[in-house]
Amino acid sequence: MLAASLPPEDRPTGSATEQLATVVTHVAVNAEYRHLVLHAIPPAIDAAPGQFFQLLCPALPGAAPFLRRPMSIYGVDPAAREVAFLYKVTGAGTSGLATLTPGDTLNIVGPLGRGFVLDPAWRSIIAVGRGAGLATLAPLAQLAHKHGVAITAILSARRPDLVVSDPVFRRCGADVTIVTDAEGTSGPIHIERLLRRLIADERCDAFFTCGSARLLAVQQRLAREFDLAGQVALEQQMACGLGMCFCCVRDFNVGGTVVRKRVCWDGPVFDLMGATP
């Protein structure tokens, strides 16, 4: 297996650090999302697809985000010493984040957690994402591309203008299908139809998904039916990001029994079948 990130127990001291990164560029990609590129040093720039950072977001007057904010990497460029994030402005933390301008510094902790795992034996995989989940899946496309694994992407959003990271997928040679609520193409039935066709065409050795519980359910059903592998990147509120506080737990189905796992530590990427709604 090709695991770009280490399992929790094997992560040595220094595999994650707290550092002050410098803003290189920071632009709005649409009405809701912003693309933040930071200049950083290792190990940050060695982050693997699916891993995340804990960001110490600047405070807006009045609303100071006390805790760090988890954000998965949108991409890294070790040569340029850059790590990128693509985020949606939601509340206090991300609104503060949105105030950063080039030259400002941002305190980041990472890379953290367990990322996507790619099996070189796979010939083609499918990435199904929605909303911010598209940001999390983008670096997976690059990893697949690097290892010659073909990738088909189904990118879901409320409106066409809110779709993000499709350029990244295309650059990686992905076959991209965009579905939106506005066009009535994002419903689970339609998605299932698309997926069944791809499976029939033998273009699905594994599912990779993030950002939608409904789409997760569809893929779990199909994975069971066709005995396919898969991985899902999950989100949960986090305080420490290092497996210490147990505020980010979720229930997982492990061989029939429900087990509580820490998203920040055992994940955020988990086996597709274990995830529960």
Binding site: P8, E9, R11, P12, T13, G14, S15, A16, T17, E18, L56, A64, P65, F66, L67, R68, A92, V109, L112, Q236, Q237, A239, C240, G241, L242, G243, M244, C245, F246, C247, V249, R260, W265
Partner: protein, 313 residues
């Protein structure tokens, strides 16, 4: 060079800085060298398997956070087989935090935890006592005395009592713990609080109420440490809102022999290391040879304190 070592009863720590229970796990080793810490303290464990509380489990407040994690616990066998060996990879003394809903349960668990590799037991008696319909043991001197007596009888290991700040009788509780054989007091656990989401009119914590921690509680817990240190002879370990070396020094001046750091580590994983280095610098800058010299070194005339205090009006 400042001597940073401190003595907690029979135990000597290389420095007075350690994590607060429930805010530390081996994951921190990814970011910092755990061998630099004065001690390691585990998340509280219980004998019975526990799920912990409903989500959401944390909420942000002014200069602090609320948590209602509860005590998720995989039980004793798992702890002995997995947690203990994992933490044994590091050199600092290992303090195991235990809790139970009954006096007897506490004693039994302490006995089970008194194994090689464990250097001290921290009894989290800030937890509900089902024999007193859920009131925490440390709320009263009487219930504190009975649980500490049982614990003392159950283990030979150094025994620390972790007190709750939610009592109105902290000095009496501290005295009771000392009288029944506590080797040190950890002051304190979180302060009970709550918060409501104005968008949904629902509590911000799945459990409605939770424990407040972080800088916001520092002046309150500092006062509790001061009140305890004046009353007992055993070392007091200060814990509440410590984020910097100055915070740690302030706690020591108020009477603390060592400090525990919790929430600050969430915001800055390296906080404890910075506090250790900062304490050394603090002492050097003042020609204090031994950090222990800070303990209780607050200057005051007796006149400072009125016979009958009208504090805070």
């Amino acid at each position: 060079m400042t001597d940073l070592s401190v003595r907690i009863g029979a135990l000597t720590l290389a420095n007075p800085v350690m994590p607060a229970s429930g805010t530390f796990a081996e994951g921190l080793a990814q970011v910092v060298d755990l061998n630099r810490l004065g001690a390691l303290v585990t998340k509280t464990i219980t004998r019975e398997l526990r799920e912990g509380n409903p989500l959401p489990r944390v909420a942000e407040t002014h200069d602090g956070m609320l948590n209602s994690i509860g005590i998720p616990s995989k039980g004793v066998p798992y702890f002995l087989e997995h947690t203990l060996p994992t933490l044994a990879r590091w050199t600092p003394p290992l303090v195991v935090s235990v809790s139970a809903p009954t006096v007897e349960g506490f004693a039994e668990l302490a006995a089970m935890m008194s194994v090689p590799g464990v250097d001290a037991i921290e009894a989290n008696i800030s937890c509900p006592n089902i024999e007193e319909d859920g009131r925490a043991f440390a709320m009263r001197a009487t219930s504190t005395a009975s649980v500490m007596r049982a614990l003392r009888g159950a283990t030979r290991l150094p025994l620390w009592a972790k007190l709750t700040p939610n009592t109105g009788d902290i000095a009496e509780v501290a005295a009771a713990a000392e009288a029944e054989g506590a080797d040190a007091l950890v002051v304190a656990n979180t302060i009970l609080g709550m918060s409501i989401d104005l968008a949904t009119f629902r509590p911000r914590l799945g459990n409605v109420m939770g424990g407040l921690s972080g800088p916001a509680i520092k002046p309150i817990v500092m006062r509790l440490v001061y009140q305890c240190a004046r009353r007992v002879r055993v070392p007091v370990i200060g814990c509440g809102g410590i984020a910097t070396a100055n915070d740690a020094a302030e706690y020591m001046l108020a009477g603390a022999t060592a400090v525990q750091v919790g929430t600050a580590t969430f915001l800055h994983p390296g906080a404890m290391i910075e506090i250790i280095d900062g304490l050394a610098a603090f002492c050097t800058g003042r020609n204090i040879r031994h950090v222990a010299g800070l303990t209780g070194a607050m200057q005051r005339e007796e006149a400072d304190e009125a016979e009958v205090e009208w504090v805070g009006a």
